[in-house]
């Protein structure tokens, strides 16, 4: 997976989860719906953010592979 794709997916998942919490607190979304959204988006947020900082940026040193 490309680094940028993982970042976009992670931020989108986190954004949806946070937005659902805010909307539920403001009374625009039922709490149960916000909880379901949090349950779905939290795993995606954790995994994609980890994949983002794990992914190579393509500027690494070329490892020494012997003469």
């Amino acid at each position: 997976m490309k680094k940028q794709t993982a970042l976009i997916a992670g931020l989108a998942a986190g954004g949806i989860g946070v937005a659902a919490g805010i909307l539920a607190a403001a009374g625009y979304l039922p709490v149960w719906a916000a909880e379901i959204l949090a349950v779905v988006t939290f795993p995606a947020f954790v995994i994609f953010i980890a994949l983002w900082w794990n992914a190579k940026s393509g500027e690494e040193d070329i490892p020494f592979i012997g003469y």
């Binding site: 986190g14 989860g17 946070v18 659902a20 919490g21 539920a24 709490v31 149960w32 916000a34 909880e35 949090a38 349950v39 779905v40 988006t41 939290f42 795993p43 995606a44 947020f45 954790v46 995994i47 980890a50 994949l51 900082w53 794990n54």
Partner: protein
């Protein structure tokens, strides 16, 4: 909502670190710092990540998402005072995660772990008996009703001590380095987690941290009652430390001995339920 999940993950990982520290101190070792499991999870998330060639790719990745998702759901069930049966269902789904994790990897060690997970399905029996006892006392399976019952009649820890002991055994069955941790025993490397490394292992650590938080919180909520967060966390820590002592002084049992002990506890609890039914009914 996500902020509470992050908080529960952080506390769960901290509890895992405290668990390791207490075990080490009881065994006369210095042990790792208590934040070791937080660093451990971060370390895994930076490690090189791939999917083994022999793995079932979809299941291999999906179990990580499911592990985090089901325990996130379980936390909201507890917080919203939902049904105890839903919590029980999450516990059963976790068994599917354990199976899927081991079987999807294609590794013989992972498969051994998955098979041991099937054997250790006996650990669900004490939980089922606990649910039955709680229903006999409170007449409801709603966590909110159970909490309200305890505010009037006192903690179920005293009223239904055998059920609390059975629930304690259920939590002990899911603790790392415990007498019932046969699915991740060292003779099968890391059991069903053997092939999950890098980001996948970090994700699983997050899921397991949530699991520890939820199970300890459920114990406090179901057997002591609703408390302010600080006090609940303190009691969860005390329960955890007692579990760590048990893990430190008890050798890991053989797979069949774990089933025997869990079945015997369930049997004793069934007798208690029958006596209770006769006395109360």
């Amino acid at each position: 909502m996500i902020e509470y999940l992050l908080f529960a993950t952080f506390i769960g990982l901290l509890f895992h670190g405290i668990h390791r520290k207490v075990i080490a101190r009881v065994q006369g070792r210095p042990g790792p710092p208590i934040w070791q499991e937080i660093l451990h999870t971060l370390k895994f998330s930076f490690k090189e990540t791939w999917i083994p060639k022999t793995a079932s790719q979809t299941l291999f990745v999906a179990v990580v998402f499911v592990a985090i998702g089901i325990w996130s759901g379980a936390l909201f069930i507890l917080l919203s005072g939902g049904s105890l049966l839903l919590l029980f269902a999450v516990y059963l789904l976790h068994k599917i995660v354990e199976h899927g994790m081991g079987l999807s990897s294609g590794s013989p060690y992972g498969k051994f772990g998955a098979i041991r997970s099937v054997i250790s399905a006996a650990s669900e029996l004490p939980l089922l008996a606990t649910v039955a006892v709680i229903y006999l006392f409170t007449g409801s399976l709603s966590i909110a009703d159970i909490a309200a019952y305890q505010q009037v009649h006192g903690p179920l820890l005293i009223l239904a001590f055998p059920a609390a002991a059975a629930m304690y055994l259920v939590i002990l069955s899911k603790m790392h380095y415990g007498p019932f941790s046969i699915i991740e025993a060292k003779e099968i490397v890391s059991g069903n987690m053997t092939e999950h490394f890098g980001v996948w292992r970090a994700g699983l650590e997050v899921g397991f941290a949530l699991k520890t938080y939820v199970l300890l919180y459920a114990f406090v909520l179901l057997f002591i009652g609703p408390l302010p967060l600080g006090l609940a966390l303190l009691l969860m820590l005390l329960v955890l430390i007692s579990l760590s002592f048990v893990c430190a002084v008890t050798p890991m049992l053989s797979p069949y001995d774990t089933v025997t002990i869990q079945s015997l506890v369930t049997g004793a609890l069934v007798i208690y339920i029958i006596v209770l039914g006769v006395v109360m009914g």
